[in-house]
Structure formats: structure tokens, C-alpha cells
């Protein structure tokens, strides 16, 4: 019984995950691939050559996206961690309201806020700046960071911290030596979500970045709706690669620590 289930799972998962990705992987190396050919009739590396040429701005976009995403992760932890801890470990008036408030960026459709956010940023003189783009990426990341980490903190006992403090450790020491190791698995997951959200931002970067800061999605997305599948595929693969790498790095954390995923397990 178990064996049949397992084999079904293997087939469904491997085919289900692999098949939708297969055409694009092949397309990145294809020159001519028309119905009804199962494989390209003519192959070519020209899309990859284009992707790495200066005109494509792919390499530039990749670097910018990476710098911004890493910085956003840092900011997200800085801002989200205390908030998550407060929500998880303290009861205060208006807590429910705050929790829903922090979810709002996920619920409200982008077009409502994008124009206004752009105007706010213009007034704050944050447009065309690295920090401005990072801040606008931070907005949708906060709900996820707070959601995940508040659950981690909910299942977290402060005994070790209290002990360390009574032994005379400074708050900073307590954080790095006691707290951080304790919440690390969940923190890695939350940081991955933050990275992915920032990595994939398009319209916000276009407006706030003002063309001064070109990220990978800005280069990629016009190709996705274009007719040259080969170019779109090559750039898509470059776009997806770091994300998969991040997944490999923390794959162990996902699906293992229940406190981590409890963040989604908190009602």
C-alpha cells in the first residue's frame, strides 16, 4: 500500500515539477522548434550569447537585483524580528488589528497602492536611489517575515535567555549567543521568502528605480510576453538559478522544523 503510494508520488512529483520546466530549458538552446517537432530542429547558443552581452543588461540587472535583495533581507530582519517577537510574546491592546494591518500589503491589489507609493517616494526624495528601491521591496516582505517569525517566537521559550541574562550577559551577547541560534531555522526560511519577493519585484522597481537602477525582472519581463521564446527562456533560467540555489541551501529547514512552519500554523 505504502509502496504504491510512494511510486505514484514519485511519478507525479517528478513529472509534475519537471514537465512544465522542460520546454523552457530546451528553448534556451533552440533556434527553430516548431510544431510538431518534439525536439528543436535547429539548435543555437545565440540566446545565451545575447544574455551575457552588454546590450541585454542581464549581468548588470543580476548584480543590482542581488545587492538589493541581500540588503532587503537585512532590513527585513531588522524590522520584522522585533515586531514578530512582540506579537508572539506579548499581549497588548489592538494586537489583532496590528496583525491584520501587517497583512494588508498582501491583500490589497498592487495597482491601488503603486502610484501612491511612487508619489510618496518622490516627496521623500527616495526615487532613483538604491535605498529607495530597497525600501519599496521591503513593504511586501514584512508580512511574510513577521508571519513566520511570530510563530517561531510563539513556540519559543525564554528560559535560556533569562538564564544567560542572570549570568550577566549583555543583551547583545544574549541575542547572538542564545536567541539567534534558537530561531535560526525559521529565520532562514523567512529570509528566503524575503529574498524571493525582492528578487521578483517588477513594477515597483521600474517606478521607484526610475530607470537608473535596472534589475533582472525589468530586463526579463518584456521578453516573457515577447515572441522570442529562446531569449525569454535563457534569461528566465538565469533569473531562477539563484532562487534555486537559495532553496538548496535551506531545503533542509523547509519541511522539517514545525515551529518554523508553524508561522503558517498559527491561527
Amino acid at each position: 500500500m505504502h509502496k504504491i503510494n510512494r511510486w505514484i508520488a514519485v511519478i507525479v512529483i517528478v513529472l509534475g515539477v519537471g514537465l512544465p520546466m522542460l520546454p523552457q530549458i530546451i528553448w534556451s538552446f533552440a533556434f527553430r522548434w516548431l510544431f510538431p517537432s518534439l525536439l528543436p530542429t535547429e539548435w543555437s547558443m545565440s540566446s545565451w550569447e545575447y544574455a551575457f552581452s552588454p546590450s541585454s543588461r542581464v549581468v548588470e540587472g543580476f548584480m543590482n537585483s542581488m545587492e538589493i535583495a541581500v540588503f532587503v533581507c537585512f532590513l527585513s530582519i531588522l524590522v520584522g524580528l522585533p515586531a514578530a517577537r512582540a506579537i508572539a510574546m506579548y499581549d497588548f491592546k489592538g494586537k489583532g488589528f496590528i496583525e491584520w494591518l501587517l497583512m494588508v500589503p498582501i491583500i490589497v491589489p498592487g495597482i491601488v497602492s503603486t502610484l501612491g507609493i511612487h508619489q510618496v517616494f518622490i516627496r521623500l526624495q527616495l526615487t532613483n536611489t538604491f535605498i529607495g528601491v530597497s525600501l519599496v521591496h521591503l513593504i511586501p516582505c514584512i508580512p511574510y517575515m513577521v508571519l513566520v517569525m511570530s510563530s517561531v517566537f510563539a513556540n519559543y521559550g525564554t528560559e535560556l535567555e533569562d538564564t544567560a541574562r542572570t549570568l550577566g550577559a549583555s543583551p547583545i551577547r544574549v541575542f547572538f549567543s542564545v536567541t539567534l541560534p534558537g530561531i535560526l531555522p525559521g529565520l532562514m526560511v523567512a529570509t528566503m521568502f524575503t529574498f524571493l519577493i525582492s528578487w521578483g519585484q517588477y513594477i515597483t522597481t521600474a517606478l521607484i528605480g526610475g530607470g537608473t537602477i535596472v534589475t533582472l525582472p525589468l530586463v526579463l519581463f518584456p521578453f516573457i510576453t515577447g515572441i522570442n521564446y529562446s531569449n525569454a527562456a535563457a534569461i528566465s533560467l538565469i533569473f531562477v538559478a539563484p532562487a534555486i540555489l537559495v532553496l538548496i541551501l535551506i531545503s533542509r529547514q523547509l519541511g522539517q522544523d514545525s515551529a518554523v512552519m508553524g508561522g503558517f500554523g498559527r491561527l
Binding site: 512544465p20 515586531a83 512582540a86 501612491g116 524571493l196 521564446y229 532553496l247 519541511g255 512552519m261 498559527r266
Partner: protein, 290 residues
């Protein structure tokens, strides 16, 4: 003594403040402009008077209810199916068997892949001239693209559903899997020795434990699909379509006079989403307690 009390009092607000400030000032401030446009304040094109006309127009449009229903149906079915599939996969993957680590990793691959890239892949796979269709031709089952079943740009929205499932099943799945792995087999063992069959073991032991996880992750999935315009826009029929797509089309129209309408649709959408999610959460809490 007083200073300590002050610090204590300020502690929680200070911890919340940065996150709160960013969401309220930056996002909330941004929403004000959209809200303003929805009630007629759009000075750049000369609209300056408060009016609820745009909301009235949207709500009285005969296609509105149909689009709202389509939006709800898509979000509901996506959430339902991905939850069920996620649980099924989690039940298998929670055991350690040869290759289970690798399989679990493959299972998680969809998570970092952006929806637009997935949508392109699905079209290349299931369209009438896609890879599966070409397979059918080469196997002699079909001859022209028209012989292959329709799965994209179709009323039922099969490709749309597949795209969302592909992304959301692993998302809910890892939550459920995490909980199952941490539970351990003891409770089920006891239950089995007491004579419970597998369905009973699942229903009375496992389900209550994974319910909170399912419900919270499905709230995010529902909210996301409900507000998503890109996938139905790319893979669906032109008409009738979901509310987010309607809002997006109005927004993108060169006629800026249609923007207030786009804002009105979006805000109605957000309000409906919040109401549904609040109800869902209440229901879930009640179900868990029972």
C-alpha cells in the same frame, strides 16, 4: 523605578514601530492616492470632486457579479485542490524512504519560481501546439493542433488552475509536512493498536494537528489568487474574466478617465477579500476547537 516602567511600557510599541511605520506610512500613504482616485480625486486629469459614482458604476455593471463569482471560484478551487493535494503528498513524504530527501527537494522546486515563468512553461506544455500535443501527433493519436484538447485560453481555465496548483501545492505542502514530521508516529501507533483504521487515524489524530497549518497557509494562497491578475490575463479567455483582470485593463487603458474605476474595483476586491478571510479564520478557529 519610574524610568524602568516607562521603558517597559514603551518596549512593545518600539518593537512594533518600524514595521508598523513602513506599512502605514509607505504602503498606507500609497493607498491614499488610490483611494482618492476611486472617489474622484485625480487632479492630474482635472478631477477634483468627491463622488461615489465610480463605485456605483462598478457595482451596477451587469458583468460585475459574474466576474466576482469567477474570481471567488478560482481562488476557492485553487485553495481547496492545493490543500488536498498538499496533504496527500505530505502523508507520503513524511516517511523516510530511499530517495525521500531528493524527492522532497524536487517537490519544493516550484516555490522559488515566479508565477509568470510557470505560466509560460504551462502554455508551452499544454497548448494545442505545445509539447504534449506534439507528443500526441508523434504517437499518431492526433494530426493537427485542433485535434488536441483545449486547456489554455478556455472558459474552465484549466491552465490557470494548473499554474496555481503547481506553485501552491508545495507551498502548503511544506507546512503540513513540517508538522507531520514533528508529530512522530507514536499517536498513530497507539491508535492502531486500539483498532482504528487509517481513515480514522487520519481524521481524528492527524487532521486536527495539521489543520492550523493548512488553514493559515491557505489564507495566504486564497488572498494571493483572489487578487492575482497576471495569470488569468495571460492564460484565460478574453471575456468574461476575473475582477483583478478587469481592474488591470481599466488601469492600463490610455484613457486615464478609466483609472478611478480601476481603483474602485480593486478596493471592492480588497474589502471582499478581507471579509472572506476574517470569516474563514473565525470558522477555522471554531472548527479546530470542535
Amino acid at each position: 523605578m519610574n524610568r524602568l516602567k516607562l521603558i517597559e511600557k514603551l518596549r512593545v510599541p518600539l518593537m512594533i514601530f518600524p514595521a508598523f511605520a513602513i506599512v502605514v506610512v509607505l504602503f498606507g500613504g500609497g493607498m491614499i492616492s488610490g483611494l482618492g482616485q476611486s472617489v474622484g480625486y485625480f487632479p492630474v486629469i482635472g478631477l477634483n470632486e468627491f463622488t461615489l459614482d465610480y463605485y456605483a458604476e462598478v457595482l451596477s455593471d451587469p458583468g460585475f457579479l459574474e466576474s466576482l463569482w469567477l474570481t471567488f471560484r478560482l481562488a476557492f478551487l485553487s485553495t481547496l485542490f492545493s490543500s488536498i493535494l498538499a496533504v496527500l503528498f505530505a502523508l507520503v513524504l513524511r516517511h523516510s524512504f530511499r530517495g525521500s530527501r531528493l524527492l522532497t527537494f524536487i517537490y519544493q522546486i516550484p516555490i522559488p519560481i515566479p508565477h509568470l515563468v510557470v505560466a509560460t512553461g504551462i502554455v508551452l506544455l499544454v497548448s494545442q501546439s505545445g509539447l504534449l500535443s506534439r507528443g500526441a501527433v508523434n504517437l499518431g493519436l492526433t494530426q493537427t493542433p485542433r485535434d488536441f484538447p483545449v486547456m489554455v485560453f478556455d472558459q474552465p481555465g484549466v491552465a490557470i488552475q494548473l499554474t496555481f496548483l503547481w506553485k501552491e501545492v508545495p507551498f502548503i505542502g511544506i507546512v503540513v509536512l513540517a508538522i507531520l514530521k514533528s508529530i512522530g508516529p507514536q499517536y498513530e501507533e497507539i491508535a492502531r493498536t486500539l483498532g482504528a483504521n487509517s481513515w480514522q487515524r487520519f481524521r481524528y489524530i492527524l487532521l486536527p494537528l495539521i489543520m492550523p497549518g493548512i488553514l493559515s497557509s491557505s489564507i495566504i494562497v486564497f488572498a494571493f489568487v483572489f487578487a492575482n491578475y497576471e495569470i488569468p490575463l495571460l492564460l484565460g479567455v478574453r471575456y468574461p474574466t476575473t475582477l483583478p483582470v478587469m481592474a488591470y485593463r481599466s488601469y492600463q487603458d490610455p484613457d486615464l478617465g478609466l483609472r478611478p474605476q480601476a481603483m474602485a474595483i480593486s478596493i471592492i476586491l480588497a474589502i471582499v477579500a478581507i471579509l472572506l478571510l476574517v470569516a474563514y479564520r473565525r470558522l477555522a478557529r471554531y472548527a479546530v476547537k470542535a
